[in-house]
């Protein structure tokens, strides 16, 4: 075996980094757990999940529409029941089916009872299907009409449904009566209703959808970046120690920095891939769901591709931070299992600020642009809402760049400690600072 080193031209630091990253990526993608969480989950699970939600919602809606409820009308001695109301309730009940939105009510006259509670008790004892009861009391001493009482059982869904339908009928009847009386007296019906007002939402459907997505997708960006980096980070550090290939990797004929950078790069690439795929799958599935729910299919929910494209550089810098920190922390563990345990609290460190970032009232400005995690959430929110805040975006990009660099420095510092070879057990999170002060390994 003669020495033939002169024939070989060693790769540069960046070439070596890319070679290591390529190998780590190939290795990670061949790991079943990583492949499931990074690829299969976003492609299959979210569309299936949203499809199931839609089917579930439709099923519940359909069941409600076809549910027949039992209602009754009762009165105290001396009270009168407006015939028109009984007719209105009965009319609705007898109406032929005109599609899935027709609600069925079968009214029954119970008879006389001293009060609403007695009437309810008597009826429910007689008929276990009793759902809701409208009770009329006699006028008070001054001859004023006493409001009718609608009795139902809030612990039973059929009873709640009956309550809603009956209340709707009574309100409609009251409106009709007022209109008739106004006509009788030659006045405008609205004068009898006091202040006439209606609620009006001036946001258009697209804005509403953008708002909903801006509350949903930024949080998911963080969650997915964290989840996407989780398994590859554990796999390339603690997993490598468990598999016994750590020493092999440390013997690679390239600078250690290239090895560490390559590992971080591969984790970041996988996390970005998983995040992108997740956001795309979630955007499409959630968009479809919103389209169905928001306006009964009247609006067309478009995937915010421009916002997704514009957030990509921010997401990339953020994912670098996440990947580097996770690689650094997971490297403290001696086994895959311990690595997962160590990263549990770290996940929360990212997800909690992300949740704070989607709280109403917190907006992107020059101060929030400096808060890690929160800043990337706010930028994405702002982009989804179609805002243009160039200074705030530039500040966020700068701070993300600094955090990414600091995170990589941290990870490289952990990964280059000699204690990774010499320690016989995992280093707890609390021992991190002491670990970082331990002797550095060779270059």
């Amino acid at each position: 075996m003669p020495a033939s080193r002169s024939a070989h031209r060693s790769p540069s630091l960046w070439q070596a980094t890319l070679l290591v990253a390529r190998m780590e990526l190939r290795s990670s993608l061949r790991d079943r757990q990583t492949a499931i969480y990074s690829v299969v989950l976003p492609i299959c699970l979210y569309p299936i999940l949203f499809w199931m939600m839609i089917q579930g919602a439709l099923l519940v809606q359909g069941r409600h529409e076809h549910t027949t409820v039992q209602v009754a009308i009762a009165r105290a001695p001396g009270a009168t029941v407006p015939d028109k109301l009984v007719d209105a309730v009965r009319l609705a009940a007898d109406a032929p089916a005109q599609g899935p939105h027709i609600e069925r009510i079968e009214p029954e006259f119970v008879g006389y009872a001293p009060d609403a509670e007695s009437a309810w008790a008597e009826w429910t004892a007689r008929d276990p299907r009793a759902d809701a009861l409208l009770f009329f009391s006699p006028p008070d001493d001054q001859g004023n009409e006493t409001p009718a009482i609608l009795c139902y059982d809030s612990t039973r869904s059929a009873s709640v449904l009956a309550h809603d339908r009956l209340a709707k009928r009574v309100k409609a009847h009251a409106r009709d009566v007022r209109a008739d009386r106004a006509l009788e007296h030659g006045i405008d019906p609205s004068d009898l209703q006091g202040v006439n007002f209606s609620q009006r939402d001036l946001a258009d459907d697209r804005e509403k959808v953008a708002y909903i997505l801006s509350m949903l997708l930024p949080l998911l960006l963080v969650v997915m970046a964290v989840m996407g980096a989780f398994f590859p980070a554990v796999d390339t550090s603690a997993g490598e120690r468990e598999r016994g290939t750590h020493e092999t990797t440390m013997l690679l004929p390239v600078p250690r920095l290239a090895v560490h950078q390559g590992k971080i790069l591969s984790v970041c690439a996988l996390a970005l891939f998983a995040t992108g795929l997740n956001l795309l799958a979630l955007g499409l599935s959630a968009g479809h769901l919103l389209e169905m729910i928001a306006s009964g299919g009247k609006i067309n929910v478009e995937l915010p591709l421009a916002a997704l494209a514009m957030v990509a550089p921010f997401a990339m810098l953020f994912t670098f931070s996440v990947s580097a920190i996770m690689c650094g922390i997971a490297a403290l563990a001696k086994s895959f299992k311990e690595g997962q345990a160590l990263l549990g609290p770290v996940q929360l460190l990212f997800i909690m600020p992300a949740m704070a970032g989607v709280l109403p009232g917190i907006e992107l400005d020059l101060r929030t642009a400096l808060i890690p995690v929160v800043n990337v959430v706010l930028v994405f929110r702002s982009l989804l809402r179609g805002e243009v805040l160039p200074i705030e975006y530039a500040m966020t990009a700068l701070s993300l760049l600094i955090y990414a660099w600091l995170s990589i420095v941290f990870a490289v510092r952990v990964l280059s400690r000699e204690a990774l070879f010499l320690s016989t057990e995992s280093t707890p999170l609390l021992g991190l600072l002491r670990f970082l002060r331990s002797p550095k390994g060779t270059r």
Partner: protein, 264 residues
Amino acid sequence: MTTPTDSPEQLDSVGIRTEGLRKVYSDSKRGRVVALDGLDLVCQRGEIYGLLGPNGAGKTTCLRMLSSVLSPTAGKAFVDGVEVSQDPLEVRRRIGFLSTSTGLYPRLTGRETLRYFGELQGMQAQQLEQRIEELIHVFELSGFVDGPGSSFSTGQKQKLSIARAVLHEPPVLILDEPTLGLDILASSAMIEFISSARSHNTCVLFSTHIMSEAERLCDRIGIIYHGRLLTEGTYDQLREETGEEYLDGVFLSAVRRADEELEV
């Protein structure tokens, strides 16, 4: 990198040299550990040097420092004329290292593993492919080289590991218990391979527990205990020195003597 007393000829013939090599570290379980305590050792090119010692004697620490995986607390180590602390990267380029803890990447095929190391060594694509084919033939890897590392038997892993270690034709081979866990056939093939390295002017430093291997293979043997080199020499020199007939006896005699000295 060199000492003033070394002549160019001497330097050229030295594969590995250590001077007062020492390693001390702290461990949460074991406290302060003196793994190696001033080791002086020389291994020439074309020589096979066997490092014998019980578990925890410091053999693996010594080999890890020589391969630049660990850095010395004190002292110096030279590999193929390069001081390990000064240029660890160049040392990694000049050695072939094999140990039970240098596992194979389980999700890469054997061929991918060889290609990966070759690329990182800076080998040109065509040259690399030729070399891989050559090694597949020499080490009889063809039956499994395209399967994932996780599917290999211990013997197959060891064969591929040797192929990986010699892929770039290094002038120095460092082997840590290379026959550990191998069956008699694989073990025999490994001994044959190590023996053949001598004819290629390669410097081979290997550690073992198995005395018969050391007897059969080594040009010189060093006995290491509690991080110190107790004695070294050819097999015949050691037998003469201790009056023992076999290497087991030589080893036990050296260790007992060291224990007695420690007690005194």
